[in-house]
Symmetry: C2
Subunit: 446 residues, 2 copies
Amino acid sequence: MKDMLLFAFDMNCVAHQSQGLWRHPRDRASNYTDMSYWTGIAKTLERGFFDGIFLADVSGLYDVFEGSPRAAIASATQIPTNDPFTLVPLMAGVTSHLTFGVTGNLSLESPYLFARRVSSLDHLTAGRFGWNIVTGYLDSAHKGMGEDGKQGHDVRYDIADEYMEIVYRLWEESWEDDAVVRDSDSGIFAEPSKVHEIVHEGEYFSMKGIHLCEPSPQRTPLLFQAGTSKKGRAFAGKHAECVFIVGNNPQAQSGVVEQLRQQASLNGRDPKDLKVIGGLSVIVGNSDLEAKEKFEDYRQYGSHQGALALISGWSGMDLSLEDDKKRIGHDNGDAIRGVFHHAGVSSIQDWVDRTTVGGATETIVGSPVTVVDQMNDWLDISGLDGFNLAYTVMPECVEDFVDLVVPELQNRGLMKTTYKEGTFRNKLYGKGNYLNDSHPASKYRR
Amino acid sequence: MKDMLLFAFDMNCVAHQSQGLWRHPRDRASNYTDMSYWTGIAKTLERGFFDGIFLADVSGLYDVFEGSPRAAIASATQIPTNDPFTLVPLMAGVTSHLTFGVTGNLSLESPYLFARRVSSLDHLTAGRFGWNIVTGYLDSAHKGMGEDGKQGHDVRYDIADEYMEIVYRLWEESWEDDAVVRDSDSGIFAEPSKVHEIVHEGEYFSMKGIHLCEPSPQRTPLLFQAGTSKKGRAFAGKHAECVFIVGNNPQAQSGVVEQLRQQASLNGRDPKDLKVIGGLSVIVGNSDLEAKEKFEDYRQYGSHQGALALISGWSGMDLSLEDDKKRIGHDNGDAIRGVFHHAGVSSIQDWVDRTTVGGATETIVGSPVTVVDQMNDWLDISGLDGFNLAYTVMPECVEDFVDLVVPELQNRGLMKTTYKEGTFRNKLYGKGNYLNDSHPASKYRR
């Protein structure tokens, strides 16, 4: 039996997935601007042997519902939202093993400066940094940038492919492994002949320059991806090392997991090199009854307006114009719409109900034994490598999970009792710090 | 007698100002990628009641000398260089009062996302954040971004003025003070009618959107500026709250200080609202002799190649083509060239000698009494409000200053013995967190 991977799914905002639960008397998510809120969460996660924290992000706002951001602003639905990258050095400073998977939207920033920020964080965290590659789904983000709106879905992935080529070259090709010698005697810090200018003239980008950073522990950070549309799966099969999917049905997920691993094979990669984690929420109590009561208590604070704002933004459909009982189909459109098809959501009302506790993820409610039974079944059926746990009431839900569920997982041999040493990538695969040779980026390394 | 302002002048790299001193046996600057290097410096500065740390930055490399980056790469002359913003949450996490003045080049990043990053850091640091506004002087930074080269000097300041208008509106205008109510009972986190979309259609930028962040403690971060060309002084007089100048002659500096304060007056501001700090290096020993010996010891490790690379980049002149004895004039060109005119540098050789210990700043060498005498005289003659101390051997020079010079400064009543409470701006002026009403940005606040 292998250790499951375990991440906390979080965001630098008040209401990430579970809309309205910031109103719960014990919730502290509205303290998201305070350092102590985040250092506390980081320490709890490391105490509970979580592999890492996965930070979502949007650079726009949810203004599809009613054609206005009104509901999102009132409900704090992922707005206000602060920069997730700023949390990493803070949480890294109070932990030794916790890793960081941070969402960065490549359609908003130049590869040259983005590559620098990422390398800087991989250095500071001693290789505990991962990047969740997204192309963005909110028009409003692009309006903030002075553009008319986002690119079409398929074009976004073409742009992403070219962007990846540039950042790979900056991370892998620009500085050779033995370029930096730090030789006090000769006065040579780095050998100029081993530092190479990257010249790129492509369809969407051009650049010329050396990477501003010396090689960081992992060079290319651990690569996450979350899209599960057809183009998204192809992109993940080529680039991602860890894919995050959501869904409320482990049988349906097993098909997605299978398709993702096939995509890796099609790209000449070992399918086992692609880790897949699924979204989940857990509400645990000392007994099933206590957990059920906690769930019912949380649920009272759910915000339907917030959920409608969130779902409208995800789907691109203004749900204020729809009958709540309307059944939802799958039109092969945006990734998020595809995700919800797989999740088996049946109606808007069903979708809203789920979203107020747990957001896009299924919620397991029960005693530690019940929770672990269900998590274990889920893994067996789906073929997932682990979970990304969305928060409900924060930080209570993380503390409950660490205090009650983690010991049960450990007792059953489903979860590690010590951390592996080294970088994010080495902890995950045990094969060193760099991307392995079958990954397309490795060809740029000299 | 007023307390002098005291900042540490640093950069997320190996060789910032004093070229070659990373080779000194006690120097640790080549550990700049380690968290503990920076948390150590931060704690030492706070122990010594420094007001803050001022982080320089370049987003390109020094490739003017010999028309190549060879000398800069070999000597680690501000290359490699990591993102300075990533250091702030780390150092804020181990301090309570230390403030952060961080260089951000506004010609490289969209105002929409830059404003968000800054607000996020102002939140996390509880208002201890400042932004050093620069327009950049290295062509190579722009080539990295896929542009042909930097804009002309005067155009850069026009672009900067428009950029400032946008970020001011995001910080000051988008969210009213009472927009965020955090009302659990009503379920209203923020009042949508009090959050305003910013629509900008200008010559260089367009954007449409609300600021992604709720108002941070200072809203607009404390504003630094460092340009002292004619356009730069006009820009500083309009925008800056704290201006950083360099020079080796307090008499000459007094003229610059006067001109800067006049520019503030011309913009309808109280000239006293413009703080001016001067660059300085200090090498202190228990006696004058010990300090002199330390200086001579440091000097052996200076790198002339590194200094030539640095100065060529600053001045835009390839010094490999010049006679080292050639006298340097002032052509009213780039800001950096103007700075060196004021610093009274007489020849390339003179410039290189100065740069190996202290960089662009004058170096004071002596016992605590000698150092404080000279610092005090300097302040009296120049009219400066304080100093920005460039490093030599790191972190030894900071520890020496804190252990030897700070007590002497305090004994003579030149320096505070406790920190003032509150935000960066409140610590500096004692008049609250926001920009005062005579600053041009204040007109955007509702």
